[in-house]
Structures are given as C-alpha cells and as structure tokens.
Amino acid sequence: MSSNSSALESGEIIITSGDQLNVENAAVFLQHVREALQVSKSVTVEFEPEVEIDITGMQIICAACKSAAVNGKTFSYKNLQPQGLSDMIAACGAEHYAANCKQINDSTCIWFGVRP
C-alpha cells in the first residue's frame, strides 16, 4: 500500500502514509504533501500502524512542518505516533532537536517530540 491523499469537506486534507515512508517512495509522499499544503490550510497525515519510516520520510515531515508554520497552516498527524516513527526518532537522535523547535515557537516538536 502506498501513500495517498484525500480532501474532507472542511477543506482539511488527509494523507495516508502507506506501509513505507522511505527512500523508495519518498518522492510520492513528498508530492502529496506539497500539493496538499498548497491548497489546504490543514493537512493531516494518517499513519499506518506498522509504517516503516526512514530519514527521507522524516526530512519530508520536517520540511512540511516548517513550510506550514511559515505559511500559517497546520501540518499534523492523527492518532498515536506510530512505532516506526518513534524508532526512527531514537535511532536518528532527533529527540534532542524536538525539544525546542524554532518553527513552532520553541515548543516541543509535535512530530519528533514525546507526545503526552
């Protein structure tokens, strides 16, 4: 299953992660995110519970989050942080970065920080 996107009546766009968010299909996911943030003020990613994520996936998420913040839009995800993302945050050493993200007023990054 690959990444896909759909628009809600509210204008919010939901992008599904698919099973893999890695270098092999980063281009597809990037395209979905770019298009969604161009047309919508609110973009939500819906992760597959068992999604595999690598650095390329994280980079797209980070770049999208920054762009959304700059343009006053919302870029977030639904439900719990998937295990694949948690693992990659730990492996990558991203948790230190996530503590005070400049893009979101020095708050904990909603993507790479620890969620309550």
């Binding site: 980079q59 797209i60 980070c62 770049a63 920054k66 991203a94 400049k102």
Partner: protein
C-alpha cells in the same frame, strides 16, 4: 599541550620499562597469556597515546609490533626467541623515537630492519603487501570488552554526502556502528533541511553530532566511515580521556564547546557573556547559534560530565591513590624540610635556654610535627628498587648472548624501597658488578660442565632491609675470585705488603682499587680495571660500603650496604674542643669513657680494653690537630666498620641528632674522611665524618710512617 606531551613521554617511559620486564618474563614462560596481554596492552597504549600527542613515528612503528603481538594473543603465532629479540629491539627503538626531539631527523633504518624481521615471523597470508617497499598495515582486531583500556571521548560531526542514499548507504547504520563502539549520544541536526519546495526527497539533508566514549581509538571510528569518507564531511576530535588533559569532574562551558566546534566565534561569545542571561538562551535569542547546535553542545557537556563522574566513582581509590609530581618538586620539598629541621633545632635550643615552660611546650610540639613531616617527606621519595632490576635482566640477557654463555638471572626483594636518588646512583655500580660477574665470574657452558656444574650459570640480584640501610646482594655461581692472583697483583702494585698477613676480605677488597685487574684479556665487556673502581667511588658517594666474599669454583657474592636516604640521617653529635662533628648513627655500637690512666696504660698504641676485648681507637683531636684543653675524661665512640670494631675518641658526646646533609664546596671535595656538613640549631657548622674512609686514611698514614 606541552604538559600533556611531557606526561606522555613520562608515561611511555614507564610503559617501556613494563614492556621490557614483561618480555623478559615472557622469555621464561612463553605460554603465559597474561604476559602476552600485558605486552599487547603496553604497545597499544604507547601507540594510541602517541598518535594522540603527535608522535606519529611511534604510533606507526608500534602499530606494526602490536599487530604481531595481537597474532600471538590470538594463538596465530607463537612466542619464540627471535620474536622476543625483535620485540626487545622494538622497545629500544620506541625509546629512541621517544627521546629524539621533534626537530631532529628520524633514523628509520633500525625500525625498518625490525619490521622486516617481524614480517618474516608472520605467515604470509596474514600480511598482504601493498607494494614492494611498503610496510604492510594490518587492521587491528577488535579489542575484547574485558580488556582494560583507556576510555576516551570523541566528538564526531558527520555530514553525509547528499546522495548517500543513492550510494546504498544508510547513515543510521553508520551511527549504529558507532554506538557499538561505546557509549554514544547522537544529536541529529535538521536545520539544513530546505523548504518543502526545494527539498529533494532522496537526498540527505540531516547531519549529526555524536559524542562517543569508548576504549577503541580513532582508527576504529574512521573504519566506520571507510566507505563514505571520500564524499562525506567527517570531523573527529578527542575531547576527553582518562589519561590526559583535564582531570576535573566537570567539563567545558557551553560557549567553549561551541567555539571549539566552530559554531560560535570568540568575539560573539564575549559579547553574549556580557549580558546576564543563560548563555544558550542568549545565543538562540540573538540568532547567533541555532537552538539545535546549543542543544547538541549541551548534550556533549552532559555526556562528558557523566563519563568523568562515572570514572571517578568507579575508581575512587585510583583517583585518589596517586598523583604525578615532578622529581624536582620533591627535591625542593626535601630541601625545605631540611631547613625546617635546622630551624626546629634552633627553636629547641633557644626555648631550652629561656627555660620558659610555654615556649618549651611549643618547641616540643614543633619538634614532633617536624619529625613527622621529615619522615613523610623522605617516604615520598622512596621507590621500589625493582624498577631497576628489569634493566639488569636485560643486561644479563644481552651480555650472555654476546659472550656465548647461558645465564639465568634471579632477583629478590624487588619491593625494597630506597630513596630515588640512591636508586639512580646505584645504576652504574650495579652495571659494572654484573658485567664483571658475567664476563669473569660465570664460566662458558663447556667449562661449567667440565667442572661438574649446570651449563646454565646464575646471577642473583637482590635487596633487603637491614636497619636504616639496604643490603644489595649480587651473587654468581661462577668460578669465584682467585685470591692468590689478586694477592700477587696487589703486592706487585704495592697495595699490600708481601710480608703482611692480610685477611681474605681485605685481599678481595683490592679488586676495587683504581686500575686493578687480573684479567688476562681485555674484552668489550670488562678487564680494563676501571669498572670496579667506579663501583667503589659510586658506593662511597652514597656513604655505603662494599663487602666481597668468594669461594674458588663456587662463586662470588658482593654485598652493597646503602643508607636508605641521602638527605637526612640519624647521627651522633660529638664535640672536640669548640668544634662539633657528626658521626652516622647506623654504624655506632656504644660509647665508653677514656680516662688519662687508660691512655697511659695503652703505652701509645691507642688500644682500649672494652669489657675484655681490645678495641683500637683513633684520637680525632690529634687527627684534626685541635689544640684546646683536653678534658680529663674523653669518650670513645665505638663503631662497627666492615665487621671491625673501631673507636673514635672525642671530648663529649652531645647526643642523637637528625642531620640534614649539606654538601661541601668544591674546594673541600678531596678532603678524605669528611662527607659533608650540617648546620646546627645555633647556626654553627658541624662536619659529618665518614668513619670508614677516616679509618682507611689513618691506616694508610700509619702504614707509610712504618
């Protein structure tokens, strides 16, 4: 840095000494894996620290030898005599490399010969040649986790090439490999990720700071990046080690870390510091350094602090057990203690003269503290003599090979402690005695077998305490001294009279006379009649004595009696007329009175009857030509000098005295019988008498007069 380099030189010197003794032990027990590991570890540490401090020659040379010993460790090659010979030569070559100054040209010829020799010992498959003249470099095997090694902390900044994924490499795999080398803190930097519009999804825009603590060296870290190093930007810096730099428990300030990393300029740091806010916050607020970089520096700070605290907690005793102090500081301490002892004696004298109980009480307290201080200070300079024993093992090994003899060396009492200056000054005399034993004492294997002895000769070097002296014994089971030849030679040289009945010990003692040699042939090792004279002078300068005992065909034993320390000695203070003299207490047995009647009864022969035993005495008043009024009752201080009881007549015995030895000026260097001087409490000077030399001098004078 200079201090760190000096510390490296010092520690490498110690490691080389340990290496030498381990190799010599290994020669006796070639299967001892502990020894093999010890050799490997010594090499490993010399190499690793050498690279760290810019001793690249040492690092690259030691790497080759270490590699061979790693094969020994892994049972890939065995310990052979040839391997040990080459490794001992390697040790000497490392010592040479260590001692040449950085400006001097390095002579690599010896090192190349050694490496070529080592190469021959290794199975060819183990050492792939890169080029005909190139010395092969071998990948170091993994150091086992149980092996104790110095923990080092490294700061690594890894900026992968943007196309790293396209090359099939996942940076996370590399980071995980680094994690496998020790304790790592990884901080990813996302600040260079471009905007969504500019992002190339397949490129890597993240870079990392990794703070790694582990026992593996820089080579192991670089190995992780071996396939990406050409395109990636990799910076590896040593920031902490258990053996160097900074032994504080804390760590650098945040600003210092950022400046070191190049993330902040010193000027920016100063400007920010002038404001009264948390440094990191200010940097981020002012947009000088990104939050990520501050966070990364804080991670490093916390990491190193934790490592240092764990290290201190893991070895609290080690941390507190010893510190390295330059020898000259100890010498300075001893000099100051010497001055303190003199001042304390003055205080005691003044307070006693005043008769004020309060002053006397203070003086006694000062005396007690001074004595404790003196003993502690002298103890600090005490070193186990064993540190020099390994040098002599090497000497015996090399000389016996050179002379075609089979000789084993045994040692005992290596833990016996002596003043460091004494140990240093013992080196030359011991070398001469041992060379003599090997060259003239121990016979060839054939001669030994013919004499019914084992073909392997033995030289035993040992040390033991004896009162306030140390007895150093050098014993061999060789041919022994030929007393007839020595007597004949001594008579020929006019050292003894042909008619005189001279005890064996005195005849043996003639071997220490200048130019005395009975050797028919002069060899490269000995026979010129110079060495034993050096021994005599060396031991005399230590206020020591030499005893020789030998049995023809069975061997020779030379015993050196050396005072524990040269700085302060327990003495007997005596007075003749208005002059004070000091006699070392160690040899003194008792004091008896000498009346005018006793002198008259001895009929000018200077002999006293001490409880039935006749003791010859030397009237020091006459010897020093002191013309003051002689007291009615004089005192004979009876001493044991090389087994002979001799009395020294003085006017009064003042009492025991802690003598701080001051050397005499150059003009008095040749005055026989006086080894130095000391300053008494009232500021007067007392001469320190060398009773042995005094006795010899007077005997010679009498001999000449007769």
């Amino acid at each position: 840095m200079e201090q760190a380099v000096a510390t490296y030189r010092e520690e490498a010197g110690e490691l080389l000494a340990e290496l030498e003794s381990s190799l010599l032990e290994l020669e006796e027990t070639p299967d001892d894996h502990d020894l093999i590991s010890r050799v490997f570890r010594a090499m490993h540490t010399i190499k690793g620290s050498g690279a760290m401090f810019g001793f690249d020659e040492i690092a690259s040379f030691t790497h080759e030898v270490e590699t061979v010993f790693d094969m020994v460790r892994n049972n890939e090659i065995t310990v052979t005599k040839q391997l040990l010979d080459l490794t001992l030569k390697s040790r000497d070559h490392i010592s040479y490399l260590l001692n040449i100054s950085s400006g001097e040209g390095v002579d690599r010829s010896e090192g190349d010969v050694i490496i070529a020799g080592l190469r021959q010992l290794v199975p060819q498959t183990e050492m792939p040649r890169k080029g005909s003249d190139e010395i092969p470099a071998i990948q170091l095997p993994a150091v086992s986790e149980t092996e104790p090694a110095d923990e080092k902390t490294w700061r690594i900044r890894f900026r992968p090439a943007p196309n790293i994924f396209m090359c099939g490499t996942n940076p996370i795999s590399l980071i995980n490999e680094l994690r496998g080398l020790g304790t790592a803190h990884v901080v990813a930097h996302f600040d260079e990720i471009p905007s969504l519009e500019d992002l190339v999804g397949e490129n890597c825009h993240i870079y990392w700071d990794i703070i790694l603590t582990g026992s593996r060296g820089e080579d192991a870290i670089r190995d992780v990046f071996i396939f990406v190093e050409d395109d990636s930007n990799i910076m590896i810096e040593l920031i902490d080690s258990s053996v160097l730099i900074d032994r504080e428990l804390g760590y650098k300030k945040l600003g210092d870390i950022l400046v070191e990393r190049g993330d902040l300029s010193p000027v920016e740091m100063r400007n920010v510091l002038q404001q009264q806010k948390r440094f990191g916050e200010l940097l981020v607020e002012q947009g000088i350094v990104s939050q990520e970089k501050v966070q990364s520096a804080l991670v490093e700070q916390q990491h190193v602090k934790s490592v240092r605290q764990e290290r201190a907690a893991a070895s609290p005793q080690e941390a507190a057990a010893s510190i390295r102090v330059p020898a000259e500081k100890l010498d300075q301490l001893i000099n100051l203690v010497g001055e303190m002892v003199t001042v304390q004696a003055h205080l005691a004298q003044v307070s006693s003269a005043r008769g004020d109980a309060a002053y006397i009480a203070i003086s006694e307290e000062v005396e007690r503290l001074t004595n404790d201080l003196r003993d502690t200070a002298l103890n600090i300079r005490m070193l186990p003599i064993g540190s020099t024993f390994s040098k002599f093992k090497r000497l015996v090994r090399d000389l016996s090979q050179e002379l075609g003899k089979e000789i084993e060396m045994e040692t005992f009492g290596a833990e016996t402690e002596l003043d460091k200056t004494v140990i240093e000054k013992l080196n030359d005399p011991l070398i001469h005695i041992i060379r003599n034993s090997i060259d003239h004492g121990i016979e060839t294997p054939e001669a030994r077998l013919a004499a019914g002895k084992s073909s392997i000769g033995k030289v035993c070097l040992g040390a033991e305490h004896s009162g306030d002296s140390v007895l150093i014994t050098i014993r061999d089971d060789g041919a022994g001294l030929d007393i007839d030849t020595i007597r004949a030679k001594a008579i020929e040289k006019g050292l003894i009279s042909a008619a005189a009945e001279v005890p064996d010990k005195e005849i043996f003692a003639q071997i220490f006379a200048p130019g005395f040699s009975t050797a028919a042939n002069v060899t490269s090792v000995s026979g010129r009649g110079v060495g034993m004279d050096v021994v005599k002078r060396g031991i005399d300068s230590l206020r020591g004595s030499i005893g020789v005992d030998s049995v023809r065909g069975r061997g020779t034993t030379i015993t050196l009696k050396i005072p524990l320390t040269l700085a302060i000695v327990a003495s007997l203070l005596v007075k003749i007329g208005k002059d004070h003299f000091v006699l070392p207490l160690a040899a003194i047995e008792e004091c008896v009175e000498l009346t005018a009647r006793d002198i008259k009864n001895s009929h000018g022969r200077n002999l006293a009857n001490v409880r039935g035993a006749i003791v010859p005495y030397i009237p020091l008043r006459e010897h020093f030509r002191i013309t003051d009024q002689r007291p009615e009752i004089e005192q004979i201080v009876i001493a044991d000098i090389h087994g002979t009881k001799v009395g020294f007549v003085v006017d009064h015995v003042v009492g025991e005295h802690q003598t701080v030895i001051k050397s005499l000026g150059k003009m008095y260097r040749d005055v026989k019988g006086i080894t130095g001087a000391t300053i008494l409490g009232d500021g007067t000077v007392a001469l320190i008498l060398d009773m042995g030399i005094l006795l010899q001098t007077i005997e010679s004078l009498n001999h000449a007069a007769n």
